[in-house]
């Protein structure tokens, strides 16, 4: 066990944890941030995606020790008002079905638009292929990303 300082959604939080404890469980069970979901535990499905210093990571295999003193953004902190351009288009296009994977989908998409504000269809496929949606909302996810990009999500 050791103490780790994490900057989560702009707030400094201190946790006592096994250094190998995946960030996923630190966020969910120790910090109560349950918007980040458990899906597979082996970086295959993308439901646990957050941003570490604005890059997308899969938290289910990412040890808390590797995130120490760094800035983490979860779906809860993507926008203080819930109005990130992707959250807006996700609502407008009524994307979710069961909704379980959608936080991870939005976090992957937000990272994409930050690094590539005008992605092609192929860019979107490449960035989103690691996120599984068992309900099959892929077409609406793609449409919502494209609409946000058209509106200049990066600005």
């Amino acid at each position: 066990m050791a103490q780790f300082k994490l900057i989560v959604n702009g707030e400094t939080r201190t946790v006592e944890a096994d250094p190998n404890m995946p960030l996923l469980w630190v966020l969910r069970d120790l910090l109560g941030l349950t918007g980040t979901k458990y899906g597979c535990g082996m970086s295959q499905c993308g439901t646990c995606t957050v941003h570490l210093n604005s890059a997308p990571i899969r938290t289910c295999m990412f040890p808390v020790s590797a995130a120490a003193n760094q800035s983490i953004t979860t779906i809860e902190g993507l926008s203080p008002t819930g109005d990130h351009p992707l959250q807006v288009t996700w609502r407008e296009m009524d994307v979710p079905q069961c909704g379980y994977c959608q936080g991870g989908q939005i976090m992957s998409a937000a990272a994409l638009l930050q690094s590539n504000p005008e992605p092609t269809d192929e860019d979107i496929d490449a960035a989103m292929t690691g996120n599984i949606c068992r309900c099959g909302t892929y077409l609406r996810i793609k449409a919502a990303i494209k609409l946000a990009a058209q509106r200049g999500a990066a600005q």
Binding site: R28, G35, K37, M42, E76, G99, A126, N131, Y138
Partner: protein, 706 residues
């Protein structure tokens, strides 16, 4: 459909009562009379809605929401008849209450069809009371009043009152004995696009699922199932598990072990540290053994006739030609994105259940049996469910939570690691299918015989599928093979494979006869429509309707350059869906470019949800058929997580165009019906592109290079 007066013949409407604080409150329940105390002046005419003096209208959703959109669709039906302003509406999830509600399950695409009338009556009853209250206040005839957007108006005098203003007075009136439902042409809400109720919370991460449940004193429980199908629990050595920091207890009951800890990670580490002796199963199961057993059963066994019209054997003996083919499908897990989990708090005199259940009433019943407590001492709340696809119809995970809580003496939230779901069985059954078709000397299809073998009691078949009704001699048999592998309904049970098999073999027959695929289907449907053989449970005209529509949409027969078309139509869950798939195959690599979908599900409730269900069903149907496989090797599931159990991903999904036929039929299912024909349309398109007939699933187990 025109406006209809409907007699409210529910068992018990009742009663006026004085509520605490002086406001009058009217409550009734569908099942039994009960005085419902409520906050002063809240109008709560039934278990489906409440109207507050502020004008806020709360609509209750009785069914589990699992991604099918019921938490939006049900309230829309009430809201349509209530003439509510959707902006005033707040939607709440109701708990399990079998006295207030008639059917609280997510299964069989049956909710809308079975509950449509009840919900309309609930909305119309409340509207009638609000109108009566306004009419009384104004001294006018109720018939001269109109309602729209949560306001009652009296056009002759120009007066108006909001539902909020009328709530208190409406609560003091007796309930109407009958109400008039709207004419469907006057619908202003049903058939429009309404955003999913929980979408705003989902996109901010605020939405809670069962797996997110945490209460004071609760422990997280990691479940271990037998690693091989049919094994029994022997001994458990938990010494190492208990040394993991955070692990509190290890409990076990027949064939399960649960490690309880203060956080999930510790529970998982503890689970991995368990040393368990498992007792061998009677038969060490494998796909190879089952495939052989299926083939033997079909060749030698006497199956159960699930359908028999005419005399198939004699017809085949006398046929000019017999066409035959054998198809095989694998086991499939459900793999909902939210892993299996359940919360239970078992106390000496009560139990609280909370979690993702498709059948909460079954969960409560099981809990009563396990604890010996009456059902009245068990409260059951449904969380929003992160997918189920049939897996959560079962209650095995409810038993896990109840047993763990009972044995540990604390509230628990049990979680299955993803691997546990994959090794734990409850699969769509693997099966083998042998088809024979008899052709007479004039080139007519006169006999159709399907012999299937699987491990379920009634077989992995749908004995009533088209071309049933179009063939004079028609027989479907099931041969049962016993296995320790457990099975469960998988989205669109049996239909999910039988549509592909029936629609593929039909094309094999048509191809042998030199018939064009669409024309051949229409010819057979004409027979079923005008002079059916035996009883049929589908309306051939409606199946023809969706086929003709999708052919138009896709410009059937004229695919874009380099693409090949396949067509399929299927009836399931009282709805009709036809699809055309456009594919290409390059050096053996399949690409599905586009799927056109024509659906006749009667009245569409939520157009956005309906379209989403069709897209999801098509993508799920194609993905499962293309990649879905669960081989059993040396007694165990060979695929244990998403690295080998492949699900379809964004870069593999086709464009989809969906059209709903405008018909006067009442609404029917849509959570499943778009799934079955999708794999059939793609398989038929693969044949058009390559000449390779897919007879074994998944698609990617076939060499498409030809």
């Amino acid at each position: 459909m025109s406006a209809e007066s409907t007699q409210l013949n529910r068992r018990a409407f009742l009663k006026l009562s004085t509520a605490v604080g002086g406001g009058l409150m009217l409550g009734f329940r569908w099942g039994a009379a009960e005085v419902v105390p409520a906050k002063p002046a809240t109008f709560k005419p039934n278990a489906f809605l409440r109207i507050a003096p502020s004008g806020s209208v709360t609509l209750l959703n009785q069914n589990p929401e699992i991604g099918q959109g019921i938490k939006t669709a049900f309230p829309m039906i009430i809201g349509e008849e209530l003439d509510v302003d959707w902006a005033d509406v707040v939607i709440e999830q109701a708990p399990l209450d079998t006295e207030a509600y008639e059917r609280q399950v997510a299964a069989g695409s049956g909710a809308i069809r079975t509950t449509y009338q009840t919900l309309r009556e609930a909305g119309a009853s409340a509207r009638a009371l609000l109108v009566a209250a306004a009419a009384q206040q104004w001294g006018v005839a109720p018939q001269s009043c109109r309602t729209a957007k949560s306001v009652v108006t009296h056009p002759p005098s120009g007066r108006s009152l909001t539902y909020g203003e009328l709530a208190d007075a409406a609560g003091k009136l007796p309930l109407p004995r009958s109400v008039t439902l709207k004419s469907t042409k006057d619908f202003s809400l049903l058939g429009t696009r309404v955003r999913g109720t929980d979408v705003p919370k989902i996109v901010t991460g605020e939405q809670r699922y069962g797996i997110d449940t945490k209460t004071p004193g609760m422990l997280y429980g990691a479940i271990t199932n037998p690693p091989e199908h049919g094994q029994k629990l022997g001994s458990v050595d938990d010494t190492a598990a208990l040394k993991v920091p955070g692990v509190v207890k290890v409990v076990s009951w027949p064939d399960k072990v649960c490690v309880l800890a203060t956080h999930t990670y510790a529970a998982f580490l503890g689970k991995d540290a368990l040393k368990i002796e498992w007792e061998a199963a009677a038969v060490r199961e494998s796909t190879a053994r089952l495939s052989q057993a299926f083939a033997d059963a079909i060749a030698n066994g006497s199956g159960e006739h699930r359908r028999r019209v005419g005399n198939v054997e004699r017809a085949l003996d006398g046929a000019d030609r017999v066409i035959e083919a054998t198809y095989e499908v694998p086991f499939l897990p459900h793999a909902p994105m939210e892993p299996i989990n359940m919360y239970a708090d078992v106390k000496a005199d009560s139990v609280h259940l909370l979690g993702p259940m498709q059948t909460p009433a079954n969960a409560r019943q099981l809990t009563s049996q396990l604890t010996g407590l009456p059902e009245t001492k068990i409260t059951t709340e449904m969380t929003r469910i992160g997918g189920g696809f049939g897996r959560r119809l079962k209650t095995d995970f409810v038993e896990d939570a109840v047993q763990a809580s009972r044995l540990a003496g604390t509230p628990v939230n049990i979680v299955w690691k993803r691997e546990e779901e994959m090794i734990g069985g409850n699969f769509r059954p693997a099966a083998l299918y042998h088809y024979r078709a008899g052709i007479d000397s004039q080139g007519r299809l006169i006999a159709w015989h399907l012999k299937s073998a699987s491990i379920t009691g009634r077989g992995a078949i749908v004995p009533t599928n088209f071309p049933n009704g179009a063939v004079p001699h028609f027989q479907v048999d099931n041969h049962r093979v016993r296995s320790a592998i457990t099975t469960a309904a998988w989205r669109s049970p049996n239909h999910n494979v039988c549509a592909m098999l029936d629609q593929s073999f039909l094309e094999e027959v048509g191809y042998a006869l030199g018939k064009e695929p669409l024309a051949f289907r229409l010819e057979l449907l004409r027979q079923a429509e005008t002079d059916p053989y035996g009883n049929i449970n589908y309306e051939p005209a409606r199946l023809r309707g969706v086929l003709e529509e999708v052919a138009k949409m896709a410009d059937w027969g004229n695919p874009p350059a380099g693409r090949f078309q396949g067509i399929a139509a299927h009836y399931s869950h009282h709805s009709y869906v036809a699809q055309v798939a456009e594919v290409s195959v390059t050096e053996g690599n399949l690409e599905v470019h586009k799927v056109y979908c024509a659906a006749d599900c009667g009245q569409v409730i939520n157009l956005s949800g309906a379209e989403n269900q069709c897209q999801g069903g098509i993508i799920d149907g194609i993905g499962a058929a293309w990649f879905g496989d669960m081989p059993i090797v040396d007694g165990a599931s060979a695929n244990t997580n998403f690295h080998t159990y492949r699900l379809i991903r964004m870069n593999e999904v086709p464009e989809i165009e969906t059209k709903f036929l405008k018909t006067d039929y009442p609404p029917t299912g849509l959570g499943e019906p778009a799934l079955p024909p999708a794999s059939a349309a793609v398989a038929n398109a693969i044949f058009a592109a390559t000449g390779v007939r897919i007879r074994k699933l998944p698609f990617n187990a076939n060499d498409l290079a030809g």
